[in-house]
Amino acid sequence: MDSDVLVVDDSAAIRKILQRVLRQTGMAIGAIHEAGDGQEALTVIGQHPVHLVLTDINMPKMDGLQLLASLKSSAQWRNVPVVMITTEGGEAKVSEAVKLGAAGYVRKPFTADQIKEKLTGILEAGIPL
């Protein structure tokens, strides 16, 4: 079954690159939805349930950690895996994301192989929508 993905980043460039990279991985990816910040992501996921969220941390309005906390506190979305993709490589941000329930962490800049390696196990485990 194809997995639908939500890509959240305030940079349209990164959203575009992630769309391309996800298609390049050869994984069974279905629809790829986009959002420019955490608030928009919550709206989009309400309209289009997804199997996976890839999110930046450093964003205006609602950042990636706030989005992660919001998803994990929701009965509807708490099982959706969230992978952080960000330049924020410091220990504090990593441990905060892990503590909040992030399924993984990829640092920018990234290669298609790094994305594939991180997502393969997560998507194979699968979650029902």
Binding site: N58, T87, G89, K108, P109
Partner: protein, 176 residues
Amino acid sequence: MNLQQLITDSIRASSTNVFSTMLGQELPPGELAFEQGTPEPNDGVVSFIGIAGRWAGTGSIACSPTLACRICSAMLMTEASAVDAEVLDAVAELTNMIIGSVKTDLEAHLGPLGLSIPTVVYGRNFKTKSAGQHEWIVLTFLWDAEPLTVKLCLAPQERSPQHQHGSANHLYALEV
């Protein structure tokens, strides 16, 4: 620890890594310089990103409009022939990744640092100034025969980070 050398090495390594990973391009070794006072007028695209913590400062990338279009084309695998929102966004993200990597390298020595969201300016004959900063470490890379300048200034802060809430969003003076 020689902070100047650490910053120089980190800018060089992260610039090379970002170009190789995200643009599929090799960046030649950059030429090092130091800049003090008000810089010369700029033409082209300049991006800024603020760094805050016990040490605070600004990272910046500058290039010509032509080079900004080439960066966008290589990064997004699309044809960019004029500076538009997509080109500015690509330069902003390039800045975010390069200075973000430098910030991560520096955190091992300087403690936790915050990073602002990047700002990009495009125009002619403008000067920029980051308030309160003195010396910039400047690395100029020649890519496709065009200069790409990556620079950073950083200074210790007297006030503790908890008294600087939101200070990663530095003020930039723009003189046209």
